[in-house]
């Protein structure tokens, strides 16, 4: 019996309203662990045969919310959402920090797997008694804050009714969608705890396409048994010791970076990436901290890194806004990328985005794209219904709502930057693809490659099986396979992982599961197995598009324009570097010169059933 696992997964068919408990072979769990890895395996087994035909927004797609064996036991509990991505037609292991992950395991479940489509808005409730489908008609259309408030009350009241004498019921954990997900905005996020999001991949839209408003969990059991309890006790203390010692990061989180990433590394998106450097010193950390941060060490289940900060605007135009920090990504995307350099305006856009259930990165990427088209006179006031000037927070708020509700031009922009660009090009008779900043449909995180001074370079996104996902970039096809691919599958937080000696993390993993988990095996076997499957999904694609090897394994046109300003002015991504590093990357993973997994690689990784499909692609 593998340890660290609660021991079963909940499978719900929303079309047939069938609910059952399922399990997986120990060998599968050992190879894929959970989260991203296990989701990839399940998706291949169930949808692999017809992958190209599966409509990500149709009833045949699956929505998975999985934990891993280390979740809630190792610091930094997270949930990993997956399914066929409406953006890339591949898969992403999209994670979010949330008590939901711990509650799910305490209720006795390692994950929830949803198929089909409900015929009216529903939410799923998971308790020690099992899973059930409940009406969400009263929740459909509600913003994030209201959804939490209503479900907290409703579920605790219901559980109190069912078991009245045991004392107070604590609030459940939950993941939910906002209006953006409900209306199938292609890059909508799965939200949790007002400001946390499983943002990459568009899985909010997948939930919306199933009429699934939320999944709520409340359990009262122990967290799962571990393989070596005494060892885990010691390692747990040791890991926490490392996290608590990270004074700098604890104090600042990533919410001090809104100025420095632009100023120091020239890799911050400014006005749809037209520049990557700015000198707006007022956008520095203290401008947020002094006026807006109300809780300076804020975290989630079993996390002592506490990099989050709770922000609130108490006066003025945006009075009442509540969000986190914002973290660097949203400082950039809900700020500098929209030409916004005022802390209050930035917090406001972040709050609007969170409440609507947009992804804080992907949503504003599309908004920035629209604003550049407005700047260039390609989209007009007539198209939008209003002026969309850089820095105008009220205008961007309007646009965020338009997109979330798919009204007017919002209906086109709701398709995500890539598909919107295709539609607008046709509509206007102008090629606007040069202004679309995405890789394989997934909008790029707020770290550019042109200055080469940040951690993102030539192939970070171009060769990444998760496209523009900055949390899991391609490095050399080897060293990175024991970082994000591992943490997304063990399902733990990267910020409880990076500054902990790797040996300690992997000892912890072994002590919890009893599996022979090592960095080496993840670099050489487990990791490559997962990304090879993900690569296959990308190449199979469909139904609307399948990516062209090499051509689409590339950066967007904008990333080849020389930087127009700052200390790295004139620099740009090197096409030669991309070409060369991409070749090495493919080679290292055992893929051919077009990045199609080779036969011998599939054999080595035990993925022989991929061979017929890959053989077709090699022609």
């Amino acid at each position: 019996m593998p340890r660290g696992y609660a021991g079963k997964f909940l499978e719900i068919d929303l079309s047939k309203e069938q609910i059952k408990d399922i399990t997986f072979n120990e060998s599968v769990l050992q190879a894929y662990l959970g989260g991203r890895g296990l989701a990839t395996k399940i998706l291949w087994d169930r949808l692999g045969d017809s992958w190209a035909k599966v409509d990500p927004l149709g009833p045949n797609n699956m929505f998975l919310a999985l934990t891993g064996p280390m979740t809630a036991i190792y610091p930094g509990a997270r949930i990993c959402c997956s399914g066929k991505s409406p953006l890339s037609n591949g898969t992403v292991g999209s994670t979010a920090s949330t008590e939901f992950a711990a509650e799910l395991k305490m209720a006795g479940y390692d994950g929830v797997i949803v198929t089909g489509k409900a015929n009216r808005p529903v939410y799923i409730l998971v308790t020690d008694e099992g899973g059930e489908i409940r009406s969400a008609s009263h929740l459909w259309g509600k913003l994030g804050e209201d959804t939490i408030r209503i479900l907290n009350k409703e579920v605790t009241e219901e559980l109190t009714k069912r078991k009245p004498n045991i004392g107070l019921w604590r609030e459940p954990g939950m993941i939910y969608i906002g209006p953006a997900g409900e209306n199938k905005v292609r890059n909508a996020a799965v939200m949790t705890k007002i400001c946390h999001a499983a943002g990459y991949g568009g899985y909010g839209a997948v939930m919306g396409s199933k009429n699934l408003k939320a999944i709520v969990a409340k359990g009262r059991s122990k967290l799962p048994e571990v393989d070596a309890p005494e060892a885990v006790k010691l390692l747990w203390k040791e890991v926490h010791r490392h996290l608590i010692a990270e004074n700098g990061f604890r104090r600042m989180g990533t919410g001090y970076a809104g100025y420095s990433v632009g100023a120091d590394t020239s890799s911050e998106p400014i006005r749809n990436w037209q520049e990557e450097w700015h000198d707006e010193r007022r956008f520095g950390g203290p401008s947020f901290e002094t006026r807006y941060w109300v809780k300076k060490l804020w975290s989630d289940f079993n996390c002592t890194t506490s990099c989050m900060k709770l922000s609130c605007i108490k006066t003025g135009r945006w009075k009442g806004d509540i969000t986190d920090m914002p973290d660097y990504e949203l400082q950039a995307y809900c700020g500098t990328n929209l030409g916004i350099f005022d802390a209050g305006d930035n917090i406001h856009i972040s709050t609007v985005i969170d409440n609507l259930g947009h992804s804080g990165i992907n949503g504003p990427n599309t908004m920035g794209f629209a604003a550049e088209l407005y700047q260039r006179g390609i989209l007009t006031k007539k198209d939008l219904g209003f002026e969309l000037k850089w820095g105008d927070a009220a205008a961007f708020e309007k646009l965020a709502w338009l997109i979330a509700k798919r009204e007017g031009i919002g209906d086109i922009l709701a398709e995500g930057t890539f598909r919107a660009a295709t539609k607008i090009s046709k509509m206007k008779g102008v090629d606007v693809a040069p202004y679309a900043v995405h890789v394989k449909g997934i909008e790029i995180g707020a770290h550019g490659t042109r200055s080469d001074a940040d951690y993102t370079h030539d192939i970070s996104y171009a060769a990444n099986v998760q496209g523009g996902d900055h949390t899991s970039v391609a490095v050399d096809g080897y060293s990175e396979l024991s970082s994000a691919v591992f943490t997304d599958s063990a399902v733990i937080c990267n910020f409880c992982f990076f500054w902990v000696p790797r040996a300690l993390v992997f000892d912890f993993a072994k002590a919890v599961t009893g599996f022979p988990i090592t960095m080496e095996s993840w670099k050489k076997e487990n990791g490559p197995r997962i990304v090879t499957l993900q690569r296959a999904f990308l190449l199979l694609g469909g139904p609307d598009i399948a990516w062209t090897p090499i051509e689409d394994d590339d950066n967007p046109p904008r990333f080849y324009e020389p930087l127009p300003s700052g200390p790295h002015k004139g620099k740009t991504t090197s096409r030669d570097q991309v070409k060369q590093k991409r070749q090495v990357y493919f080679e290292t993973l055992g893929w051919d010169e077009r990045g199609v997994p080779k036969k011998e690689t599939l054999e080595k990784l035990g993925l022989n059933d991929l061979e017929p499909a890959m053989k077709e692609l090699r022609k």
């Binding site: 036991i73 004498n165 604590r170 059991s221 506490s306 009442g320």
Partner: protein, 142 residues
């Protein structure tokens, strides 16, 4: 690791409003008075409430007697569960201090401080906290 069996439980009626919920050792010990089988008693050394698990009949009267509904029935055997101050050196305070949150402290309040101010249902505490953290907006989030 069993959060639901812990004698200190953290409620979160709204994100950001974390409320540690645990016994405040009321001066008049309404819980002890309410127990029909005298399973509850006062620890003379620490003033904490002690539960005799063998005697407890899981009736739940101590829960309703408590102004904050702080006791709860253990998820496994339904026995009343109340903070016993770990005999005088609470574990929760140690780790909270170690992690520099300093949200918990072992204190000896004067007799004039009403312990019942610390024994409130989490929602009541959260309503105050909400206004503290969020201003006017705080009145709308719960």
């Amino acid at each position: 690791m069993w959060p639901e069996a812990s004698r200190i439980r953290i409620f979160m009626p709204f994100p950001g409003l974390e409320v540690p919920h645990l016994c405040a050792q009321c001066d008049d010990y309404p819980c002890i008075k309410s127990c029909p089988v005298e399973a509850l008693s006062k620890d003379q050394a620490t003033s904490a409430v002690l539960v005799n698990r063998e005697k407890c009949i899981s009736c739940g009267k101590c829960v309703t007697a408590c102004p904050g509904q702080i006791p709860f029935l253990h998820p496994k055997d339904n026995k009343a569960t109340i903070c016993d101050l770990c005999g005088g050196d609470p574990e929760c305070v140690k780790v909270c201090t170690e992690a520099s949150y300093n949200a918990l402290a072992l204190v000896q309040e004067k007799p004039t401080v009403d312990r019942k101010l610390f024994a409130k249902p989490p929602i009541e505490v959260a309503k105050d906290l909400a206004v503290n953290l969020f201003g006017e907006k705080g009145e709308k989030v719960i």
